[in-house]
C-alpha cells in the first residue's frame, strides 16, 4: 500500500517535470536542465562515495572529458552533438581505466587527493589541445544546437522556435538520464553485486570472507560513474555552448557543489541526492544575489550536517519516521525456508 502511494507520487512528479517545457518559460527550462544535470552528477558521486567508499574529488575530470569529446566530435569530425555526448561518455569511461589503475593504489584520503591531481592533469592536458582553442577554449559553431537530431520533431510538436525546441530536447534528455540513473542504481544496488558492494562498505573483512572481491566491484562502479559523469558533461556543454579548460574541469562547479548536494540530502541513500538538489536549488534561488554569502551558507550547512545529522536530511528523516521510500534492504528469509 505504502509503496503504491510512493509510486503514485513519483509518477505525478515525473509527469509534471516532463510537462515543464510545454508550460514553463524558456529560462525555467534552462534552469531546471542545469539542476537535473547536477542531480545526475550527484547520483554518480553518491554511488562512488556513498556506496563504494571511493571519495573522489576528481569527478570534474570526467565532466571535462565528456565536454571536450563532444566539442571535438562536433567541430573536428562534424558529428551530431548528441552522438558527441555518447562518445563523451565512452571516452570518459575509457580514460577512467588508467585513472583507476593509478588511483586505486591509494587509500582513503590519499585516493581523494590522487583523483584531484589526475583531474588537474586532465585540465592542463586538454588546455594544450590547440585545435579546440588551447587554454582559452572554443565555442560550438553557430546553429549547431538548432540542427541537432530531434530538434525539428520537438519544434513541430510544441510549435516553438528552434532554440526553444533545442532547450526542451536537452531538458528531456537530462530528465531521462536522471530516471535511468535512479532506476539503474536501484537495480544495481538490489542485485547480487550491489549487495556485495554494501557489504564491503560496512565491513571489508567480513565481505571478503564470504567471497566478495572489493577491488573488482569498486573498479566497476568507478568505470560506470565515469561513463555517467562523462555523458552529463557532454550534455551540459551543449547548452553552455562554450568550453574552456577552467570551466569544463571546474572543481567547484562539478565536484564541490555535487558533494554538498549529496551530503545535505543524505549520503549513501538513493533519494538523498534528489532531496539535496531540491534544497540546493531553493538556496540558490533565495541567495544567489549575494554571491559569496551564498557559498558561505552552503559551506556552513555542509559542516552543520556533518556535525549534527551525519546521514543528511533524508537519512535523518528515515531514521526518525521509519518511512523508507526506496528501501535497498532485502526482506529477511522466512523462518523454515530452505535455500
Amino acid at each position: 500500500m505504502r509503496n503504491g502511494i510512493t509510486l503514485f507520487i513519483t509518477l505525478v512528479a515525473l509527469a509534471l517535470l516532463v510537462c515543464v517545457p510545454m508550460l514553463g518559460s524558456r529560462a525555467m527550462v534552462q534552469d531546471l536542465f542545469t539542476v537535473l544535470c547536477l542531480l545526475v552528477l550527484a547520483l554518480n558521486w553518491n554511488m562512488l562515495a556513498g556506496f563504494a567508499g571511493l571519495v573522489s574529488v576528481g569527478q570534474q575530470a570526467f565532466v571535462g572529458i565528456g565536454a571536450y569529446t563532444m566539442f571535438a566530435a562536433v567541430i573536428l569530425w562534424q558529428v551530431d552533438p548528441l552522438i558527441g555526448v555518447l562518445l563523451g561518455g565512452v571516452t570518459a569511461m575509457l580514460l577512467s581505466i588508467p585513472a583507476a589503475f593509478f588511483s586505486f593504489r591509494l587509500n582513503g584520503a590519499y585516493f581523494a587527493i590522487g583523483t584531484w591531481v589526475l583531474a588537474d592533469i586532465a585540465r592542463l592536458a586538454f588546455g594544450q589541445w590547440k585545435a579546440l582553442g588551447g587554454g582559452t577554449g572554443t565555442s560550438l559553431p553557430k546553429g549547431t544546437t538548432k540542427q541537432m537530431f530531434g530538434v525539428d520533431l520537438v519544434k513541430d510538436m510544441l510549435g516553438v522556435s528552434s532554440a526553444a525546441a533545442a532547450d526542451a530536447l536537452l531538458y528531456w534528455l537530462a530528465l531521462a538520464l536522471v530516471v535511468i540513473m535512479l532506476v539503474a542504481s536501484w537495480l544495481f544496488l538490489r542485485s547480487r553485486m550491489g549487495l556485495g558492494l554494501q557489504a564491503v562498505r560496512d565491513n571489508v573483512q567480513a565481505a571478503r570472507a564470504v567471497g566478495v572481491d572489493p577491488v573488482r566491484l569498486k573498479a566497476l562502479v568507478f568505470l560506470l560513474a565515469a561513463f555517467g559523469t562523462g555523458l552529463c558533461g557532454g550534455l551540459l556543454f551543449i547548452q553552455i555552448t562554450r568550453v574552456t579548460p577552467d570551466a569544463a574541469f571546474s572543481v567547484i562547479d562539478w565536484t564541490a557543489f555535487v558533494i554538498f548536494i549529496v551530503v545535505i540530502g543524505g549520503i549513501g541513500t538513493l533519494p538523498g541526492p534528489v532531496v539535496g538538489v531540491v534544497v540546493f536549488y531553493i538556496l540558490e534561488r533565495a541567495l544567489s544575489d549575494y554571491g559569496t554569502l551564498y557559498l558561505m551558507a552552503l559551506g556552513l550547512l555542509g559542516i552543520v550536517i556533518m556535525l549534527f545529522a551525519r546521514r543528511g536530511l533524508w537519512g535523518t528523516f528515515v531514521q526518525r519516521t521509519g518511512l523508507d521510500v526506496l528501501p535497498l534492504s532485502h526482506a529477511a528469509p522466512k523462518p523454515g525456508a530452505t535455500n
Partner: protein, 287 residues
C-alpha cells in the same frame, strides 16, 4: 649552467611548498586528518599578517611574529570545536567538514578583502641576490629554503626529544592506550593543529613576500602541499621536505621547457613517484 640554475630555482620553490606541507604532514601523521582547508588557512594567515602590518605600520616579518600566537589559538579552537567531533574510522566526515571550512574561509576572505591581489612588502631585501659562483640566488628565496630546513629540524626535535613529541607519537600509534598513561588525545590533537597553523603562518609570510595572493589561490597551494606530503611518505617530516623539493624542481624544469607545463610537470612527478613507490619516498609508518 642554465640547467643548474633551473635546478636551484626549483629547490627554492620546493622549499616554499615544503613549508605549506609541513603543518599538513604533522597533522596527518598524528591524527590522520586530511585538512582540505589548510591552503585557505595559509591564505587567511597571509591576510592576517597584512592586516597587522597595515594597522600597526610594522614590517610584515614582525607582523608575522605577532600573528603566530593568534594562528596557534585559531588552530586550537578549530580542533577542539570542530575537527575533534568528526575524527573517527570514517574518513568522510573530516574530509567534508574541512572542505566546508575551506569554502567558508575562501568566500569570507573574498567578502572582506575583495578579489584584488595583495603582496607583503618586506623591504629592500626582496631585490637582493647572492652570487654563489656557479649560480646567483635571491636572498629571500634562500631564506625560505633555510627556514624550511629549520622548521623541519625544529619539528623533528619537538617530535623525538620532548615530552610533547612523545605524546604525539604515542597518540599516533594508539589513541586508546595513551589515555591509560594520562594523555588526552583530544588536547594533544588541539596542540598539534595549533602548531600546524604556526607553520602555516611562516609559510604565509614567505608566500606573501614572493608572489601576489588573493582569496582564491588556496586550493592550488593545498594540492602542491598534499603532493609533497604523499610522495614524501606518511609521517616523515624529512620526507615531506624531500617531497616539496621534488615537486618544486619538477615544476621549475617544466616551466623552463614551456611556461604552460610548470604545474603539469609537478603533477606528473607526483604520479611517477607514486607509480614507482606507492607508499612514498620515506614512509615511516604503516597505514
Amino acid at each position: 649552467m642554465i640547467w643548474l640554475d633551473t635546478f636551484v630555482q626549483g629547490l627554492m620553490l620546493g622549499a616554499l611548498y615544503a613549508l605549506f606541507a609541513a603543518g599538513l604532514s604533522l597533522v596527518f601523521g598524528i591524527m590522520r586528518l586530511v585538512n582540505l582547508a589548510h591552503g585557505d588557512l595559509i591564505i587567511l594567515a597571509a591576510y592576517l599578517i597584512l592586516g597587522i602590518a597595515t594597522a600597526t605600520g610594522f614590517n610584515p616579518v614582525l607582523a608575522a611574529v605577532l600573528a603566530l600566537p593568534l594562528m596557534f589559538a585559531l588552530g586550537w579552537v578549530l580542533q577542539t570545536g570542530l575537527f575533534n567531533r568528526v575524527l573517527g574510522e570514517d574518513i568522510l566526515p573530516p574530509l567534508l567538514v574541512t572542505f566546508g571550512l575551506s569554502v567558508v574561509i575562501q568566500n569570507g576572505l573574498l567578502q572582506a578583502f575583495t578579489a584584488d591581489s595583495r603582496k607583503l612588502a618586506i623591504g629592500p631585501i626582496e631585490g637582493h641576490s647572492l652570487d654563489l659562483g656557479l649560480v646567483t640566488v635571491g636572498v629571500m628565496p634562500l631564506i625560505t629554503l633555510v627556514s624550511a630546513v629549520l622548521v623541519v629540524l625544529l619539528l623533528n626535535w619537538l617530535f623525538y626529544h620532548t615530552a610533547l613529541g612523545r605524546a604525539f607519537r604515542a597518540t599516533s600509534d594508539d589513541a586508546i592506550t595513551v589515555q591509560l598513561m594520562g594523555v588526552r588525545p583530544r588536547s594533544v590533537f588541539a596542540i598539534a593543529t595549533g602548531i600546524a597553523l604556526v607553520v602555516a603562518t611562516i609559510a604565509a609570510l614567505f608566500l606573501g613576500a614572493r608572489v601576489n595572493f588573493d582569496p582564491s589561490i588556496g586550493p592550488a597551494r593545498l594540492l602542491y602541499a598534499f603532493e609533497a606530503v604523499i610522495i614524501g611518505g606518511l609521517g616523515s617530516l624529512w620526507g615531506t621536505l624531500a617531497g616539496g623539493l621534488v615537486i618544486g624542481v619538477a615544476q621549475a624544469f617544466g616551466a623552463a621547457i614551456n611556461p604552460e607545463w610548470q604545474i603539469l610537470a609537478g603533477h606528473i612527478a607526483f604520479v611517477v613517484v607514486l607509480l614507482i613507490r606507492p607508499r612514498g619516498l620515506f614512509p615511516r609508518m604503516q597505514d
